[in-house]
Amino acid sequence: MFIKLLMRFLIIAAPLLLAACSMARPALVYSPGATVDTLSAAVSLSVTTADSGMSGSGFLVYRRPDQLHLVLLSPFGTTMIEIFSNGEQITLLYPGSSTAYVGRIADLPVKGGLQGWRLMRWVMDAAPSDLPGQNGTIERTGSHGVVEKVTFENGLVTAKSTKNGDKVYYSRYTVAGGVPFAAELDLRNSQDDRIRMVLDEPEVNAPLENAAFLPRLEGVKVLPLSQLKGL
């Protein structure tokens, strides 16, 4: 359960921010047309399901369109888990046991109600309002054919939902590198599973080396994702 939700978080989190960052908000001063191509930030997250929960702090880097690397730290600052995603591929690296689980996102155990990659793409479908300063909620069919309700506030998307119960909320907008930036994301599904994430010290569109997205697997026991038993 943890892994499933955490993976969903990993895949979803940065694109959520990306979607949020591409929108205009009159209260914020930003560069028109600016988008998030890369992102690095400290992260604090909570994952809650009906029968479990976890939380932690760490760091993430993201590069458009689908590369992400998340590090979760132990209280002593050592690395508990690193998660890399690149397209449909995902790697979970546990330095403590020198073990990595590698597979496709689609191979993650299905539980928790979130829709993984498909949900991420739905979340990314959050184009800014064509009406400057738009407020209120509209229903529309998104670019991926999903019927959704979208709530705008001063032109920014603050919430989205689908008929099957998936919801995402964007808040704490700031500007980083000239780009509007939602520092807090809150995802929920029909089972009340919840992923909440807060970002700090974001750096937007700073150069990132390819190595930041490549897991170091030398000397690491690599197993298929199907053998993953739990976080």
Binding site: S44, S55, P75, R216
Partner: protein, 205 residues
Amino acid sequence: MMRVLICLLAVSAMFVSGAIPSAEARTIPPLEGLEALRKGFSGMSDFTADITQEKRLSLMKRSMNMTGTVRFRKPDQFYMAINPPYTSRMVLKDSTIEMAGGPDGKSNRIVLPPEQGLGRWVSKLTSPLTTLPDGVAIQADLSNALYTLIITPQGKGQVKELTISFLADGTIRRLSILERNGDKATMTFKNLRRNIGLTDREFRL
């Protein structure tokens, strides 16, 4: 991972303990350094200290800086709190770890095998050390009042090198953990107080 954490807890507790004789700058036998720590630890029942913690992430070329508090009480209690924005808390009671953090303060509970409990590690410090621990290489030196121990676990585990610097009076200055992936975590202790009568109330999430 949890075994590493418990080891670190025990090491941290040792380094804030009692007086350690000063010496001129010199390389000292590893066993001498370890035994000095053990002796200091024997005179300590509890401690609290402020900490700063820096995490350097090699792949990401970034670092995180945190502040917080740690507490320890014999025989088997440890508490650690990290201040915002990286808020987290951890309580260890022998082999049971409770951690809370994240935006919602969600808590996790982990129960370790009994042989990995903090109490077992602490009990090992009651007798003088006559041999070095298996599975590690240790370097030790003493520069005026500052001891430095570099502990290198053998094998391919997560921790590549553990470096501890502490004053001759037992006050730890710094604990640094170099991981095999190149990441480095450094914890600096300040405002350390010993034997102040901490109670169970100070070891709750």
